[in-house]
């Protein structure tokens, strides 16, 4: 009996020593070595791909932001500043566990199901027009906002022109991109609000559209922060 207790203790001791030695290698030396190389070779990227404008850091190329008007008194949810290109919706985030809404660098998705907020009609599951919660309600609210916000004197948004990512929220809640279709759709409004020609803004979007890498990797996309910085410069030149 004593012998087996002793053996077990010896074995557990070996286990602990193995863990400690491997912790030094995998948990100390490895991350330090990688950090050293990363900081030396890719300093900007290793620290978050920050973008500067006019000598000031204005965010990261990789992390989405909100472009809102300042909160008015008594207002809880800010309104978008329609002078700027808007990112993907984030209002649904934060009704769930971790609130992001692009404010804090906390990440997370809504995790809502495709049939949340739906009802049975003629044997088929469809969105309940009266639903106030769930993904159906969120998509509907986002779509109505896109239609309302982007209407100008000579442009009306057709619902079929709205791409899916413009009315859904992303996985990280920090998506820095929108699709070129959504940027084009917003270009009418942005031109209108900034007193620019539509063609000028459309060209700006084209210049800031990244295609698929090597023609097939990923999806075409526009970085909203970079686009807005360029827009800011364009407006400044004009003014």
């Amino acid at each position: 009996m004593n012998n087996s207790v002793g053996n077990t203790a010896r074995l557990l001791g070996a286990g602990l020593r193995a863990l400690l030695v491997l912790t030094v290698i995998c948990g100390v030396l490895y991350p330090l070595a990688v950090t050293g190389v990363a900081q030396a070779l890719f300093n900007n990227k290793a620290n978050g791909s920050e973008i500067k404008d006019g000598g000031k850091v204005v965010g990261s190329e990789l992390i989405g932001q909100r472009y809102d008007l300042p909160l008015k008194k008594g207002q809880e949810t800010p309104e978008p500043d329609l002078k700027w290109f808007q990112p993907r919706p984030s209002n649904g985030l934060g009704t769930n566990s971790v609130n992001t809404q692009y404010k804090l660098l906390l990440s997370g998705a809504t995790n809502l199901a495709g049939d949340s907020g739906s009802l049975q009609k003629d044997g088929k599951e469809v969105c309940d027009p009266k639903a106030e919660e769930g993904l159906c309600a969120q998509v509907r609210a986002a779509r109505d906002a896109v239609i309302k916000d982007n209407r100008t004197a000579d442009y009306k948004v057709r619902p079929s022109d709205i791409p899916a990512e413009a009315v859904t929220s992303s996985g990280s809640g920090l998506d820095p991109h929108i699709s070129p279709e959504y940027a084009d759709l917003q270009a009418h409004r942005v031109a209108d609000r900034n007193g620019l020609d539509f063609e000028q803004v459309e060209k700006l979007v084209d210049d800031h559209t990244d295609g698929r890498i090597l023609g097939f990797m990923g999806e075409p996309r526009v970085n909203v922060l970079k686009l807005n910085i360029a827009l800011k410069h364009l407006v400044a030149e004009k003014g």
Partner: protein, 554 residues
């Protein structure tokens, strides 16, 4: 180019990259586990452990090594989290509660990486980098070690000896996981993943004001998180977070890292049993299922059935613009057919069928290609079952790789395949029967049931991904999922090692004209069929209540 075509091309590019790595990596790993030379650094490590790496172990001794090492790992990780409040480098985060610390400790030691916490809100540098990331290495190395022990069981005869656990563990870390991770981490930083030790700090914003950032050794953890099929993200959003997975190249690269060792291990297996063709048959089985599942996933996600997706015009909820449907579907099937569980998009917001595919992938037992090591041994158990079924059909004593599959072997294999379903269905049933666990559901109806079924499927199969709407940080789920992960990892290992021991003791039987040719496509077909039938019979009723009900309604 249409998104569908781009998605298919990304799949093909991945297949090509994996094919290129297959032979060199598989042969290299076979060399690592067959060589009798020790590197100098390994000798230092053995001195530190106080173990003789040349002692051959029989299966009980090998198993004791696995269990002793893992038990100390759970204890160490638990204490590290409980003491976080008083450790330096903790970014001011407090100690983790006992139930969550237990859950997280078992989760990382069991190669599951189920997370009921949000990384950026709970864990400091010391716990993440010094505790969790270490388990990403060693739990993967333990998995490979057990797989290699089983392969030795097939390869060796008239001995009960399966190798030395300490040597297999250390070699896996030092010669395989560390070198690939270093390269992988640097590639990820070059794509834009962060790698620093800065604390929480403000970063200026376009509209003024600032955003609060939390730095960390992200790229180094990301590389081993994928390579070791672990999946525990530095941030809550896991590989959807732009700092973990910045662009489409890093996305494909991470999927490559997930798959490369599990696939290449079939070559290692072929080499070690002396017939690479046997390895190809196993590889073909894995690849058929993986490609089939990925094609189905792309189909259902591009088709976007579901009321809210119809309204939106696409299933982009919970997916990132830069990956799109194609890059997300590819990641989702790869992460659930291995034991990874990292996500670049949120499975809960997939279509009903898409969510079902991720669940079914795990329920297959994560063998196509499966976790590092665990995929190979899981698939070899299935091969034994397939050989047994074929033997019953023709009335011959089944044999595989020159070893008789007798009563003892088939009992052990049967026990292996019963463990996880018993855990998944038992705990899911209990959660549904009790009154409070259901309060954790975010969605209602069939999808709510799916959230719980997914949680236990993910835990018991050591995947770690989630239908993340479920509020899993409750005492019930922390404890039950913790147990499911622990038993789902280590009980099967007991059966695998016992099986390896009994195979190694046998004397080989020469192949005759009546021997089932297990290196032929016919056997691959039989194996795929066996896997599908066993999983289908086990899980169909549960799947019908969840994802199938949801998918068929829309």
């Amino acid at each position: 180019m249409s998104p569908v075509l781009a998605g298919v091309l990304q799949l093909l590019a991945l297949v090509a990259a994996l094919a290129l790595a297959y032979r060199p990596l598989g042969d290299y790993m076979a060399g690592v586990y067959s060589s009798d030379k020790h590197l100098r650094v390994e000798k230092w490590i053995y001195k530190g452990i106080g173990a003789n790496p040349n002692t051959e172990m029989r299966w009980p001794a090998y198993l004791r090594g696995v269990l002793a090492f893992s038990a100390m790992s759970v204890l160490f990780l638990y204490l590290l989290q409980r003491l976080q409040g008083s450790l330096p480098g903790s970014l001011g985060f407090k100690a983790i509660d006992p139930d969550q610390a237990f859950n997280t400790a078992t989760s990382f030691v069991a190669n599951t990486n189920w997370q009921s916490y949000s990384g950026e809100q709970a864990m400091g540098h010391v716990v993440q980098t010094g505790g969790l990331a270490v388990q990403n290495f060693v739990s993967a190395a333990v998995g490979i070690a057990v797989a290699v022990a089983l392969v030795r069981g097939f390869a060796r005869s008239r001995t009960g000896e399966l190798g030395n656990f300490w040597s297999d563990l250390v070699r896996g870390v030092v010669r395989i996981l560390i070198p690939i991770s270093v390269i992988g981490a640097i590639v990820l930083v070059a794509c834009g993943a962060i790698q620093n030790f800065s604390g929480i700090h403000g970063v200026g914003q376009f509209m003024g004001g600032s955003q609060e950032w939390n730095g960390g050794a992200v790229a180094s953890q990301e590389a081993i998180k994928e390579l070791g099929t672990n999946g525990g993200g530095y941030f809550n959003a896991n590989s959807a977070h732009p700092f973990e997975n910045p662009n489409p190249i890093s996305n494909l690269f991470e999927i490559f890292l997930i798959l490369v060792i599990p696939f290449a291990l079939t070559r290692t297996f072929g080499k070690m049993v002396g017939s690479v063709k046997q390895g190809y048959a196993i590889l073909a089985t894995m690849a058929t299922i993986w490609i089939g599942f990925t094609a189905l996933m792309m189909w259902t996600e591009f088709h976007h059935g579901g009321p809210a997706f119809d309204l939106a015009g696409g299933a982009m909820e919970g997916k990132e613009t830069r990956f799109g449907i194609g890059g997300s579907s590819l990641f989702a099937t790869s992460t659930t057919l291995t034991s990874t569980g990292a996500v670049n998009s949120f499975h809960s917001s997939y279509t009903g069928f898409g969510g079902g595919i991720t669940m079914l992938g795990m329920q297959l037992g994560e063998i196509a290609p499966g976790g590092t090591g665990s995929g190979l041994y899981g698939m070899l158990i299935m091969a034994i079952i397939a050989v047994f079924i074929a033997g019953l059909m023709v009335g011959r004593t089944p044999e595989y790789l020159g070893k008789k599959i007798g009563t003892r072997e088939i009992k052990l294999a049967a026990c292996y395949i019963l463990v996880t379903p018993a855990l998944v269905l038992g705990f899911t049933g209990a959660s549904m029967a009790l009154s409070t666990p259901k309060d954790s559901m975010l969605n209602s109806g069939a999808h709510g049931f799916s959230e719980i079924l997914y949680a236990f499927t993910s835990g018991a199969n050591n995947n770690g991904s989630a239908f993340a709407g479920l509020t899993a940080d409750t005492q019930w789920f922390n404890t039950t999922i913790g147990l499911a992960m622990l038993l789902g990892r280590f009980l099967p290992m007991v059966f695998v090692l016992a099986l390896a021991g009994s195979l190694a003791e046998q004397k080989p039987i020469p192949a005759t004209a009546g021997t089932l040719r297990t290196e032929k496509p016919l056997f691959t077909g039989l194996l795929v069929g066996t896997i599908m039938i066993i999983t289908g019979l086990t899980y169909f009723p549960a799947l019908a209540l969840g994802p199938l009900a949801e998918g068929l309604a829309s």
